[in-house]
Symmetry: C2
Amino acid sequence: MSKIRIGIAQINPIVGDITTNKNKIIDIYNDAETNNSDILVFPELSLTGYPPEDLLLKPEFIKENINALNDIVNNSKDTVGIVGFADYDGVDIYNSAAVFQNKKIIYIYHKIYLPNYGVFDENRYFKPGKEYSVFTYNNIKIGVNICEDIWYPNGPGYHQSLTGNAQIIINMSSSPYEVEKENIREKMLSTRAGDYGVYLVYSNLTGGQDELVFDGNSMVFAPSGELVTELPAFEENLSFVDINVGEVFRKRLHDPKGRKNINNSENIQIKEYTATIKEHQKNYIKLSSDNNYKKPVDPLELPYKALVTGVGDYVRKNGFNKVLIGLSGGIDSSLTAAIAVDALGSENVVGISMPSRFTSSGTKSDAEKLANNLGIEFYEIPIENTFNTILNELTPFFKDKPWDITEENMQARIRGLILMSFSNKFNYMVLTTGNKSELSMGYCTIYGDMVGGFNVLKDVLKTKVFQLSEFVNKFHKKEIIPVSIIKRPPSAELRENQKDEDSLPKYEILDEILKLYVEKDKSFQEIIEYGFDKDVVIRIIKTVDRNEYKRRQGAPGIKITTRAFGKDRRMPITNKFID
Amino acid sequence: MSKIRIGIAQINPIVGDITTNKNKIIDIYNDAETNNSDILVFPELSLTGYPPEDLLLKPEFIKENINALNDIVNNSKDTVGIVGFADYDGVDIYNSAAVFQNKKIIYIYHKIYLPNYGVFDENRYFKPGKEYSVFTYNNIKIGVNICEDIWYPNGPGYHQSLTGNAQIIINMSSSPYEVEKENIREKMLSTRAGDYGVYLVYSNLTGGQDELVFDGNSMVFAPSGELVTELPAFEENLSFVDINVGEVFRKRLHDPKGRKNINNSENIQIKEYTATIKEHQKNYIKLSSDNNYKKPVDPLELPYKALVTGVGDYVRKNGFNKVLIGLSGGIDSSLTAAIAVDALGSENVVGISMPSRFTSSGTKSDAEKLANNLGIEFYEIPIENTFNTILNELTPFFKDKPWDITEENMQARIRGLILMSFSNKFNYMVLTTGNKSELSMGYCTIYGDMVGGFNVLKDVLKTKVFQLSEFVNKFHKKEIIPVSIIKRPPSAELRENQKDEDSLPKYEILDEILKLYVEKDKSFQEIIEYGFDKDVVIRIIKTVDRNEYKRRQGAPGIKITTRAFGKDRRMPITNKFID
């Protein structure tokens, strides 16, 4: 009687490819219809891909997405579909959910809370919605809202449940992955289900889009706050869950907090809509959830999968097959290559080692060993002749100035030139291998080792590079990244006996300070209160600020922390502030 | 009796350098006090510099700017100072104007309309103000508002004038320059003065900050809409204007539209404040405006000055003295060098010519001639030996693949390497010389000719490069850029007999289509309706979209059009939409 089957379509759309996204949505809809799903929910803006950025300012883009929605609606049968798209009212556009059935739109919900912080710019595009709505299906009341809406304790879900008497809240999201966000998100959603006394269905996007990666991991919660089922992380998935909303009434009788809550929604009007009951309900067969996914135990598994998904989608969605990596025998390029192989297959990864007079025999043989372990195509191209030629050409102009960073950068830039020549000749995308610690400190050569179309480790601190490298070997249950690479003290090998620690604080200290300064935006005073050396902290802060110009010309890369370089952290280049 | 002297302090602050900005504000305040100014108004957020971007998310930054404001207030005497700063109410921050006198803040105005489009992200930081206010000085009522506020016909100025009876509206702005914006802005301000029946004082920022350049050109309008006086463009300036507000009463009696306007501000409360009359008013002497600036007649003068200001401020504010430019003998590098010399002086510009086997004797000698005309340091470093060495090293790996873009890019990248080596050795900032047409089409080599810290012509289409080059010679009344450079058909000279028009449509056509597609965001269908060839248009649109990745790694450069690449136009790299 008060049972309902809800399908969650956790998809990986392509930004701007509205036709492909539409066809995917229709195929999945037809599948859900066949599976007797009463309702089928897609993620936020799944028809356009997320985030569409300034494509949303193109009238043709808005029109095409509305036409595609109409095609989806015209294909619909009994199952109630809920699809994210950009609605247009003749003046403004809205981040919207269309609720439809039997070739008709029942109603359209407009997102009320628009995020405009971190990587989000939704105020740039959308007008916030004003209508709080629920719809009825088989005597069950359901409230639909979108992403940010559910992050506000007294947001739409609150009013839909406690004023509109919704028994089920459906939230469609495109919520980007960050390390450990899955826990924060699960706690929050569980709390909302309990506070509102509802079943909460959370449908999230999956896949990579430029610097963002979406983890999917859609979830369903009971009114007790208990997690009923969850969908896999970083995979497309269609799952069904059967809900008996009788539990909502019981919970509300046993736990009067929702009813006793001082209701701040007295003036809120709830608009009510009705959907037709699906025929199959007459012969309802229990299915329950068909999904056995559990979140991984190893805290490195999700970040690793985020990197694999991010680079794989960036390369594929931009029409490339193969990637090229400069293998130095160091840990950053080794981890980048291992991730690339997991993302694209060993047949699509090419490694080039480019030794110089400063390359030790250990790193040189390690580069080759890594390539063998990964089973990738591998070339060795020494840079010595080119380096000598350019030195001969330029030293007359340098007069009596001593060897310095100039000659170090030259080597990195010759390597960049070689990689880009292969990229041009064979249409490989170069992956650049710098990590977040290096990029923070500008310990990298612009137009040298920073060369490349995508930077896999852009948001990964060096200490985490070590952890992830060990994880790779554990995950594959064999030595992929040679232990000698993991054990060797990091060196750029651009001069005799160079070590990273000659120029940088120890990574254990550097990374802790970078976490505080970059990711938590703590001030100098606050950081030294953690007990760090004053001079070290001031040096790091100044160096991070001064190198904004270098990062601004760096390759895009995958955000996995609370604050990545890029549109997440919009610092001026010209900036004299010292925190 | 109802006369008042208003000072406009059109300053060029440095983002984040709150102490320097504060000292500048205090010095000018003291000057205005000496000049018996009743009121002195600075531009929007002039204490922090504009735009401070994510510095606004740092608590220490907000605290430091409030402390600096207190210092300014504590220095104040009879003159009413109006300074832009970021206010904090314990929860939110506001884009604000402090109105102060005799060591006390009279009141603080919070900007009501926050721009969040184009290059602006103010919703990311600020809460909008709610209070409409006027203050009285010598029986004259004055309304203060901030930048975007005045762009709304029924914004704060409307209510301050027609409900609050303000006779003078003061708008403090940080309004970035765009070609011909000065005319749009002047028309709008003139219309507002007439609609509101007030004297309108507009105080705008000047100087460059990263990709933005502010033109100053502050103005004062009479209630008739007539321009009373204007301050110079692209210069710091302190000017005084004496206003007799008797004219306001006359205008309002003669023109009843303001009074008859159906008043949509009935529920608007106007908060009233009072300032003390300055002693010198007792011996008031007529000064009127001391300024004779007139907008330039030549439409190229302001864009040229914008480029000069933009590069000069970027280089100086980032602590560099000298710049380095690769001089090809082509028009882009020639114009860049001429602008750099006007911005920094010939003693601070260094040119390097890097000929190859494909460099014609004409371009080679033109590069030298240009350097002589500019009186700059000049070197010639052929790339032939290095090019041959790298070809020998790589061709074995390229097997039987023919010469292609790879070998062309190699030459550009060797030149980039040479420029960066000089940059490292002598601490010169490299200026990259690409123009907007090239960057649109990706007709430039990433890590090659795109190398550099700043891109002067980033937002200048090729046809405008020609116009500005002719302007340079006219402006200096002698041949700076050799006519042979202006006349020669553009070529990258990366292969035998190469011309730009082998790869690109004629610039006259290309630039018109780029204006429509990039600057006006027209769709394919709309563009062909202008009569352009369908195949040419589709090729250009696809090429622009596909090269987003290249621009993303390009150097920052000066926005001078309505839509520049960068934060003004936020397109995804991964993007399958075809307009």
